[in-house]
Symmetry: D4
Subunit: 251 residues, 8 copies
Amino acid sequence: MDPTQLRLLLEQIADGRLSTDDALVRLKHLPFEDMGFARVDHHRALRSGAPEVIYCPGKTTKQVVAIAGKLVKAGANVLATRAERKVYTAVKRRWPRAKYHDAARIITILKPKQPKPVGNVLVVCAGTSDIPVAEEARVTAETLGSRVTTVYDAGVAGIHRLLASAHEIQAANAVVVVAGMEGALASVVGGMAACPVIAVPTSVGYGASFGGIAPLLTMLNSCANGISVVNIDNGFGAAYCASLINKPAVD
Amino acid sequence: MDPTQLRLLLEQIADGRLSTDDALVRLKHLPFEDMGFARVDHHRALRSGAPEVIYCPGKTTKQVVAIAGKLVKAGANVLATRAERKVYTAVKRRWPRAKYHDAARIITILKPKQPKPVGNVLVVCAGTSDIPVAEEARVTAETLGSRVTTVYDAGVAGIHRLLASAHEIQAANAVVVVAGMEGALASVVGGMAACPVIAVPTSVGYGASFGGIAPLLTMLNSCANGISVVNIDNGFGAAYCASLINKPAVD
Amino acid sequence: MDPTQLRLLLEQIADGRLSTDDALVRLKHLPFEDMGFARVDHHRALRSGAPEVIYCPGKTTKQVVAIAGKLVKAGANVLATRAERKVYTAVKRRWPRAKYHDAARIITILKPKQPKPVGNVLVVCAGTSDIPVAEEARVTAETLGSRVTTVYDAGVAGIHRLLASAHEIQAANAVVVVAGMEGALASVVGGMAACPVIAVPTSVGYGASFGGIAPLLTMLNSCANGISVVNIDNGFGAAYCASLINKPAVD
Amino acid sequence: MDPTQLRLLLEQIADGRLSTDDALVRLKHLPFEDMGFARVDHHRALRSGAPEVIYCPGKTTKQVVAIAGKLVKAGANVLATRAERKVYTAVKRRWPRAKYHDAARIITILKPKQPKPVGNVLVVCAGTSDIPVAEEARVTAETLGSRVTTVYDAGVAGIHRLLASAHEIQAANAVVVVAGMEGALASVVGGMAACPVIAVPTSVGYGASFGGIAPLLTMLNSCANGISVVNIDNGFGAAYCASLINKPAVD
Amino acid sequence: MDPTQLRLLLEQIADGRLSTDDALVRLKHLPFEDMGFARVDHHRALRSGAPEVIYCPGKTTKQVVAIAGKLVKAGANVLATRAERKVYTAVKRRWPRAKYHDAARIITILKPKQPKPVGNVLVVCAGTSDIPVAEEARVTAETLGSRVTTVYDAGVAGIHRLLASAHEIQAANAVVVVAGMEGALASVVGGMAACPVIAVPTSVGYGASFGGIAPLLTMLNSCANGISVVNIDNGFGAAYCASLINKPAVD
Amino acid sequence: MDPTQLRLLLEQIADGRLSTDDALVRLKHLPFEDMGFARVDHHRALRSGAPEVIYCPGKTTKQVVAIAGKLVKAGANVLATRAERKVYTAVKRRWPRAKYHDAARIITILKPKQPKPVGNVLVVCAGTSDIPVAEEARVTAETLGSRVTTVYDAGVAGIHRLLASAHEIQAANAVVVVAGMEGALASVVGGMAACPVIAVPTSVGYGASFGGIAPLLTMLNSCANGISVVNIDNGFGAAYCASLINKPAVD
Amino acid sequence: MDPTQLRLLLEQIADGRLSTDDALVRLKHLPFEDMGFARVDHHRALRSGAPEVIYCPGKTTKQVVAIAGKLVKAGANVLATRAERKVYTAVKRRWPRAKYHDAARIITILKPKQPKPVGNVLVVCAGTSDIPVAEEARVTAETLGSRVTTVYDAGVAGIHRLLASAHEIQAANAVVVVAGMEGALASVVGGMAACPVIAVPTSVGYGASFGGIAPLLTMLNSCANGISVVNIDNGFGAAYCASLINKPAVD
Amino acid sequence: MDPTQLRLLLEQIADGRLSTDDALVRLKHLPFEDMGFARVDHHRALRSGAPEVIYCPGKTTKQVVAIAGKLVKAGANVLATRAERKVYTAVKRRWPRAKYHDAARIITILKPKQPKPVGNVLVVCAGTSDIPVAEEARVTAETLGSRVTTVYDAGVAGIHRLLASAHEIQAANAVVVVAGMEGALASVVGGMAACPVIAVPTSVGYGASFGGIAPLLTMLNSCANGISVVNIDNGFGAAYCASLINKPAVD
């Protein structure tokens, strides 16, 4: 599927350096590793510029450790999201350098030498209750190599609290806006920023917030330009997008 | 149902000034006029301080004119909302002093001598497309006797356009905020105002605005205090509330 | 953002009484206090006439106590909503004058000398199960300085139970109507009241009440005038609006 | 499916009065008439006590006339609902005794001798715009042989307009309540009636009435007992139920 | 609100047998008993033919016992629905004749002499999991004096299981159909019955049954005539309607 | 993507019969034809056993004719669904053998020699208004080579009308059930059939059918086994599935 | 309802070999066994080719064991879905040959001699978290006699992982595609398969997946042909359909 | 709100170069131009790097022309979206260099000298019916200065049509994916791209696509990383984001 690799392969066959059967095997089996319950995609780093991430819910601790093992062995940084502490305990036992980011519920197993963070990703959140999602974004962006600044509890009901951070907003390469309840923060920040804004609705709120539908709709309908939206509570996804924008050649 | 009136009635019966049958008749027939297709509630002015308003959709032109006739005869100001121009033409023919407010789609037939408008109701809207609903609010509030100021096209994507009107917001007795798309304006105004804010979501927008559901949810979930909400596109209802707040003794 | 304050500041700069840098600092830092996880808005009292309120869900006990500390220090009344009893225990330990309103799930820390309650806010609820939300409204309105009357369990299925309270409805400056299930109470009270009605749908009910959507829609579509609506179970928000209406200059 | 008929049939077979093949034919073909595009159910009258009704939308004029022809031939009263005037014109041409009920959009072709209407079905509606649905109920109930009384425009915002009809409500065998917008009328009537109430939500309203969802939910969640609900705008269905209740042995 | 009583009262005033103040007091206080947290409606029996029923969720055990006490004292049968066993224990302690219907989750406290059950209410349910709701219907109808027959687990996927009960369906005065999942049973029974059918959607199912929305919509859209619908899982409400139909003069 | 073809290609390269560049070109360009606005997938017949079908809405007449031209040229049967008559007129002008199926709104351009229809697909629909969708299914299945039987207007309210066709249901290889309103027909047929049932909800109905959501949910929640569901009004899709089942090796 | 059986019965009556009463009894009682809380449908195997399956939720352990007993006694294979382990423990105690499929949450009690699995059903799932639903499908299809192949964790974000299994997809008689989150897998597999695809949306995901609504809608709207859909998480239902397709004459 | 400008202003005041009143005036009036019905935000170019765009629906032709006039006068490029042809006619009359992009429904009035397009934005769409939205994206991105490549009709049902464009996907700086129906294209492209993907759901489809909700949910739940989403049919918004990513310093 990658024409460059395909061309190389074809040339090797034409050259006789590779048999037809071997070529078929390579095409089929190289890019991932089938563990029965999971097909680990080692090719992803080459293809999309970042390692495969482990989304923990619905996986047993044993499965998470096994997948992490494959990734570590392949020389990748490991990022496991929505991880309960008990999963971390098991991971820590095996890789003592593993780290648990409490608020973010993320486990990281980083290679000893990490490059210096680059660029400028800003994470803004509306209320204290939105901090867990904002932290998921911060840790993700940092793990992907971005320098991150945060502005927390800057809801629009006291607009001056947000305006005080106008400089940070103007200076960013990409902004992640995290907000629950009515989610209006995205529109106001969107109107102040000169860079793309990735909006994350959160499930913070009650009643007619319907578990995050209210801020999701708010953000999708924003009258400000340059705003795009990810799933409810998806701090990881927003940070992933922001990092791609912040440093076009991730890793 | 009105204890004061009931007491009076009871005293009249006790005094022999009123027969049992007459009392029963009064209790049953006085407060409204049954036109077959409509029961005009003349008692409403006494009870809630404002005349009955004619909501035109679903009524024939003939029915609107007939109800207006009953109200005019009873000495009330007439306010007919969501009126098409053809209804106005028929009304105008009968009451030359009738007036049609185009953008607001309202017909008014006012008594010759109107009291001077009082207080200070502010109507703010987010975009040019929200103006019809904002105008419905303005005309309604003015007909109910309120002095009205307007600030139009002050969406949050250019927050400075709104901040420039901070003084008007601080000076109001009641603010009506009209906004479609994501409806974030209500929260920002709510954070700046010292008086109650009545928020009106509009059906302006497309896609995931779902005909006004997006701003409706935004407004219901507002993190700012002092905000309450009326139905989608219900400029009339918001202005009615605002007028009650602006001048506790309407009329 | 407050033109009056801004003008004052500008004049001080022009007079040389304030340096440019100092002015910038003031503009940025005065109106709130950044605690990292929360930006306490001391300016809100000046701006909107009531102190900042602590919404407890999603905040740790430690965070609630810290924010309360800032507010107490700033000389404000403290109102913490949706507080679990364990939060109260921690608060009580620090401020022995703190009080827990069980049914309302509210913690208050009031300044020793409270002004005499003024005006007339009426809180009506439809069923016994709606009482917690109604109590949240009552305690909030009282803390904000309003005199409050209550009429509980007055659903429309036995309309005479409601009519018996017609006098209280007629006498109020603002009415808060709390109702779950089908929420029809708001329309009937709305038709009897001469003042604004703030309707609070509750999540009381089952099946097709969909956690409060049924009464929310009922209230938004009310055929009675003068009704506006707040979020499901938001007794606090309704009382806040009602207090602003009841006493135009809160505090 | 009808055990009595089945037993009869079986006995005829056992007696040799009916061959096996004939029995099979009867079982298969007797109870309906297959017209290719429609299977007219002549058995319905025997089975459920009322003739098959023609629901016109989605049927061509030609199809309606053809089905009506089968019913007329079978000696039944014909009731065609949601019929456009052009369908009526075609029907009238063939059966001059056919009658079109404008507001109700119903065509009836009645047998010359109709029995005297019996019992007491009350149809109440909330607003003038709900009258078409109420009329569909009235005409249906009358065609099914019930005596019908109507109370129109008796919404709950002026509760005295409804209380004035308390006697009619108490006297009914079955009440059909037709209401759009918030649909609160059903609960109030339900609390006043001693008989079953069939509630019909209508699509009258705008914005958050969502084409009748608001009153539908209101009615399903009613706190009054004895209320059941039919589909939005289904005046026919409600009247059918009410007639079954009103006259247990519908002819 | 009851014209007959009102006339009597008015005559007593006119006769001098009743003072104005006394009349006012009676009008206000007679029909219900205000317990602070509940207004017990003793008038309901007179007005709608059945005692007030205690819906337990959201009420404390103490409140349930207190309300039951008022009803027992007033000489009524008591029916408490959705009651947990611990509520029953408290009730049983006070009224040893109280009875708990497990599957139905109903507490009854019946007067020693109950009249013989009359008429014929049929309760049909689709699957074994629907039995609790069906039992709520059965116990309710029996407590209200109806004779009840039941047909359980007669879903439409094995239509012959339902056809086998055709005779019971034909013989009923009113049928309660209880079904979750797709709720198709109502339509099939509706096509076989000659009496009104009250359909109860249940929350039995998963995925796209959305907690009972699927059968609710099925039943509201039924192509069979004579079907009306109550709230999801509302076995009580359906039985109440069925009893009113079964014995026009309940109690 | 087709391993067999890929292997062949690889062998040709290894043999020197094909240059690397030519192989790349083939891999990229062979399987479809890029028309700018459409990429016609000639490979589909090989891959999934049936030609590409033209879904007309959103395509101009000119585009439909152009795509049809490519398919005709490639020697395929053409099936254009949801085609307005004016599209047919243009198609007919170019290919006189084209045929328009009115009720189904389908255009077919068949190759002169069609194989004899095989197998046994049964199409059942609930009401006369569902016939257009049923016809879309019939014409599709026939064009794909299946023999089709139809049973129309066999709704469950008169269950005997359906039982009369029990033999046809038992004899089918695949059944397509088309039903709007409450869609209960699928469950009943599902309980009678021995083969897979493909259920098609239709948008026939009003009010709480919500444009087909009601029957869609009914069908997804069916208690009968062997039922799967396609999109609302998607008669084509159901027939496509049924044909694959009916004749495992479609053409 | 089965014409062949009916004809036999009728002939026996005609022959005098069966009395009318006996025939009636047979028609009514033969095809199922009424256990009070359940009507076990022994006729289903004859009618639709597969034994009745026990859906455990909402049934007590005792009820499950009782129903299983009736089925075992009737000589059928038993398949109990969504069974908790404690139910299995009770079943195992009675039938030691019972087996519990952990991931699938299925209990099977198979007859000692099972025929050799036939055909080729492929079960594909998108992610590790979808495996329980995929396993429910696998065990069901195997119990119904099909040979099953599985491809797990083959989501579309790494399309090469799926393409590597192109051969398995091309070789299947029926494919079950299990996917949560966005459910796009069904469309891609649908485009690659030559046989019918049964898509199962799962409740795996969070936020805007709304418990499986997102993949459900994705699958219903698939642009690939030959796809039909079952309820969310309904692995059983999909496998049932796939088995009917795989082996037209399911034992 | 822009600290740099504010500081400059403050310094001018401190220097005496600017009076307090003048400063206030500047702060209030500089950044936008109030036209009564619209507040044109000239400051936006400075603040967020792109000119204000005119969204035409809900604006009269006269209003569009007036706003365009202000923008032209301010020396900006004009981009008017969702413009009907009649609006274009009026615009063309005034500015002959105006251009109408038919499929995109966009009017542009560009300054004579446009800089050379830079970077690499790829616009991919799933079907022919999605082209209008894709074109809105293309024209927008080009007007904002980006070089744009397009790949149209590359839906996932024929995955090879998409794989053939793998090179274009790998080479882009930002990809806009436009898809209706089930919207699966976004996930597949997301898995192949190394840059951010902006997904645009379209309202193309019918039935359970619910006007674009289906692809919207699909895209929000995508299992591929680096995907963010904009409103249904919002090609403009996606292109705006993509341009910001493509050329960090727009204009």
